[in-house]
């Protein structure tokens, strides 16, 4: 009955705003009890392996529990059953040592084959470097200028129960990673701070992102679509808030997207030369702050002391500009939670966010800093 209703709701939800929902994405299934079949060959093989072992376990369980329940039903003192006194039998014990061993060997054969398949990262058509940060992912398309961060895009108000939750709650990002359909994509996975794990169930790819190591994984997505996953290794406060969204598109669309992103990257470099007005910096800065700083320092700048100090009224944000530049560009030597944002953000974004921090939350310093100042600061330091 309940299931019927759910299906009905799902149908209604699918029928209503059909134009706003991407045609290729299915709504996540409620009451889901099993692994997705996935959209790659490896995912499907893994799924089959999983089901095979599951059914073997069910069969063994039925046998063992069957004997047990039969015995619990029949061999009761209350039914006047007299206890037998046998207590060993070498033959029986040999049988139930050898048969499980044979079953295990039969299970190991397909498992080994699948594992070899998963480990074959040779001859990829495309390499994407994935770097885990507290608490976002960075994607670098090797051999091109395209590089970007992917942040959770669920509004804070939904997490705090002030707004109703949308259907992709906690599984949505501002910039999905785009891959071409039918191509072998190799992922080179590492981390900048602590250990994370990059996991997309539909692709059956899960690999730890470890600082100082570069792990390899690969996928070949067969169907265009949007596939969602999450960080799978506890990485601190916002471990539950760094999802992964993979958008698989046809090759032509992928090439178009890549060109567009490369052009945007070039434009971003030009911004370094531009002089911004105070208001432009503030507006851009708020956006950068909310995406990159607010997870720790909070949207209102109050932070979560002592690990995440307040920006409002802080000695750095209301002190000399040079120290402010230093901590944003290089991070804090005392507190590793404060990352070095120099390599992560563009000069324009750093200039904007610093200006914002010095003039928001009642700090009212009235001063500004321009992208070119950031570039000079970075260059003088090296």
């Amino acid at each position: 009955m309940l299931r019927g209703f759910n299906r009905l709701f799902a149908l209604m939800a699918a029928a209503l705003p059909a134009s706003t929902v991407l045609a290729e994405e299915k709504a996540p299934e409620r009451w889901g009890v099993n692994m997705p079949r996935g959209v790659t060959e490896v995912a499907q093989t893994t799924y089959d392996l999983h089901m095979l072992i599951f059914w073997i376990c069910v069969a063994i369980g039925a046998l063992v529990f069957g004997v047990m329940f039969y015995s619990m039903w029949r061999h009761r003192k209350s039914k006047g059953y007299e206890a037998a006194q046998f207590h060993e039998s070498t033959a029986v014990e040999l049988v139930w040592t050898i048969i499980p061993t044979v079953i295990l060997i039969l299970m190991a054969i397909p498992a080994t084959k699948t594992l070899y398949d998963i480990y074959d990262t040779e001859e990829a058509d495309l390499d994407i470097m994935i770097t885990g940060y507290q608490w976002k992912w960075k994607y670098d398309y090797l051999g091109s200028d395209v590089s970007f961060f992917s942040n959770l895009s669920t509004p804070r108000a939904e997490i705090d129960n002030q707004l109703p939750k949308n259907s992709n709650y906690l599984l949505e990002v501002d910039e999905p990673v785009v891959v071409p359909v039918g191509k072998k994509v190799r992922f080179l996975i590492t981390a900048n701070d602590v250990i994370h794990a990059w996991w997309v169930p539909d692709l059956a790819v899960k690999k730890d992102a470890i600082p100082g190591f570069v792990n390899e994984a690969w996928t070949r997505v067969e169907e265009p679509g949007i596939y969602r996953g999450q960080c799978a290794e506890l990485c601190g406060k916002d471990h539950g808030f760094m999802p992964i969204v993979v958008k698989a598109v046809p090759q032509a669309e992928y090439v178009q997207w890549l060109d567009q992103r490369a052009a945007e990257a070039a434009k971003m470099r030009e911004l370094t030369e531009k002089t911004f007005t105070f208001d432009e910096l503030l507006a851009r800065g708020k956006d950068v702050y909310d995406r990159n700083c607010a997870a720790c320092h909070q949207v209102n700048g109050q932070g979560v002391p002592p690990t995440f100090p307040a920006i409002a009224g802080s000695a750095i944000a209301t002190g000399p500009m040079k120290e402010h530049l230093d901590i944003v560009v290089h991070g804090s030597p005392k507190n590793p939670a404060m990352q070095a944002f120099g390599p992560q953000l563009s000069e324009a974004d750093i200039a904007a966010v610093i200006t914002y921090q010095r003039n928001a939350f009642g700090n009212d310093m009235g001063d500004t800093v321009q992208p070119i100042d950031i570039l000079n600061f970075k260059n003088n330091q090296q």
Binding site: H75, L115, I195, K207, G236, H239
Partner: protein, 516 residues
């Protein structure tokens, strides 16, 4: 022989009596069980529905970490040591433990270790928040300042465990009554002997890994820091070299308990005694060569993956032998189902289910999908709650009449069993589903499609938690009075402990008993 316990508090502070120390271990572990349980309820309350309602992510992570640490080191391990203290001397016909003063010491440092660990909750920056597996560098460079107190409390717990293990080995090897040959020992004694060796082998490894952390944090070394030339994966290898035998430390004594209870209530000798001993030893050996199955996703070379996959699958063989032996013991017995038997039967069924999910997890390519999801949470709670907790509970009901001289209230015992059994399954079974459907573990908030099963799990958790109060009440009432127990307590149970009076006198076997 004449002197009994000292009056007042000094009885407990200075005692060298194995029964008193066993009692203290058991009460301490029950207190920790309630504390760790309350933390689990905070977790389940937050996960009752999507969104952040009750706690913030920082505190949520402290709860998952402290829940794990307190349950493993505070509830399960001391409970088994308490049972060992009470029962091993009585089972092998010894007057006491071999090293009674060390016994006192190994108990009394524990409350200090846990007071120190619990005090971190009130420190600036909060308690440890990096999970009970405390992977570096989250637990070193990125840890709250309280990590140093965590390290010292682990050192103290380790010292306590090592002393306890030495004592148990010394007792079993030296103090058996004449005629009590090794292959006549009750299985609880056998499994504890093997467990004690595991403890001595791996607790120093744990001490080593936390000391390396201490050096990294305070003394400028870089064991686990990639930036300093160290290796974060090394941490995991060292940790799991301790951690995998550790999970068997928490289950082998349970095998011994169940192997005592099932024959008593089936009125039939244990099937395959010697294969039980060999299976236990095989499991202990295998536990040292499977550690990296916790790390299938770290990027090991394929040869490593294959080795650890095959070795892990092999564990199913001796574990299967044990389950088959228990079922065959029940087969054609003359069974009754008093509370200890109910818990023991539930142990066999639910532990086997946990074993099946363990077998699924051993398959490396499938593990890539299961790893660090709620499927794993379901798996290890199925082996630890019905495994360790149910067996400890079964043991308490089984031996409580011997300890107190009074029978517990059977109706209340059955109520406790059924509430626990239902609560446990309602809590942990749905976790298999959300895990397979893609919910990572250790997250304070989750996507909407996981909401229904999480809600069910939370309801089950509160039921399970509440049912433990029935247990507490039943035990207190039994200590205070009740129907007098006979010396044998049950119908023809096997073992020397049933040959002494109920309650067991303060000193037993001052002269060695005759062993048939």
């Amino acid at each position: 022989m004449a002197h009994g316990p000292q009056p007042g508090l000094s009885r407990w502070l200075y005692t060298t009596n194995h029964k008193d120390i066993g009692t203290m271990y058991l009460w301490f572990s029950f207190a920790m069980f309630l504390l760790g349980g309350c933390m689990a309820l905070v977790i389940r309350a937050e996960l009752f529905e999507p969104g952040l309602q009750i706690v913030q992510p920082e505190f949520f992570n402290q709860m998952t970490t402290m829940h794990g640490l307190i349950m493993v080191f505070g509830a399960v391990m001391p409970a088994f040591v308490g049972l060992a203290n009470w029962m091993i001397p009585m089972m092998i016909g010894a007057p006491d433990m071999a090293l009674p003063r060390m016994n006192n010491w190994s108990f009394w440092i524990l409350p200090f270790a846990f007071a120190m660990l619990a005090s971190t909750l009130f420190m600036e920056g909060g308690a440890p928040n990096f999970g009970w597996t405390f992977y570096a560098p989250l637990s070193t460079e990125y840890a709250p300042p309280s990590v140093t107190f965590f390290i010292f409390s682990i050192h103290i717990m380790g010292a306590s465990s090592i002393m306890g293990a030495i004592n148990i080995i010394a007792t079993i090897l030296n103090m058996r009554a004449p005629g009590m040959t090794l292959m006549k020992m009750p299985l609880f004694v056998w499994t504890w002997l093997i467990t004690a060796y595991l403890l001595i082998a791996v607790m120093p490894v744990l001490a080593g890994v936390v000391t390396m952390m201490l050096m990294d944090i305070h003394f400028g070394t870089s064991f686990f820091s990639a930036a300093g030339g160290g290796d974060p994966v090394l941490f995991q290898h060292v940790f799991w070299f301790f951690g995998h035998p550790e999970v068997y430390i928490m289950i082998l004594p349970a095998f011994g308990i169940v192997s005592a209870i099932i024959p008593t209530f089936a009125r039939k000798p244990l099937f395959g005694y010697s294969s039980m001993v060999y299976a236990t030893a095989s499991i202990a050996f295998l536990s040292f060569i499977v550690w990296a199955h916790h790390m299938f996703t770290v990027g090991m070379p394929i040869a490593g993956e294959l080795f650890f996959m095959y070795a892990t699958m092999l564990i199913a063989v001796p574990t299967g032998v044990k389950v088959f032996n228990w079922v065959t013991t029940m087969f054609r017995g003359s069974m009754t189902f008093e509370t200890p038997m109910l818990f023991a039967v539930a142990f066999v069924i639910l532990f086997t289910i946990g074993g099946f999910s363990g077998l699924m997890l051993s398959i490396a390519p499938a593990d890539f999908q299961y790893h660090d999801t709620y499927f794993v949470v379901a798996h290890f709670h199925y082996v630890l709650v019905p495994g360790a907790i149910f067996s400890i509970t079964a043991a308490v009901y089984y031996w409580l009449p011997k300890w107190t001289g009074n029978m517990y209230n059977e109706t209340m015992g059955k109520v406790h069993f059924w509430l626990s059994f239902i609560g446990l399954n309602v809590t942990f079974f749905p976790m298999h589903f959300v895990g397979l459907a893609g919910m990572p573990r250790r997250i304070p908030d989750y996507a909407l499609q996981f909401a229904d099963f999480n809600q069910i799990a939370s309801v089950g958790a509160f039921l399970f938690g509440a049912s433990q109060l029935v247990f507490l009440f039943n035990v207190i009432r039994t200590i205070q009075g009740g129907k007098k127990a006979t010396d044998e307590v049950w119908e023809n149970p096997e073992g020397l402990e049933w040959t002494v009076a109920s309650p067991a006198p303060y000193h037993t076997f001052s002269t060695p008993p005759a062993v048939r």
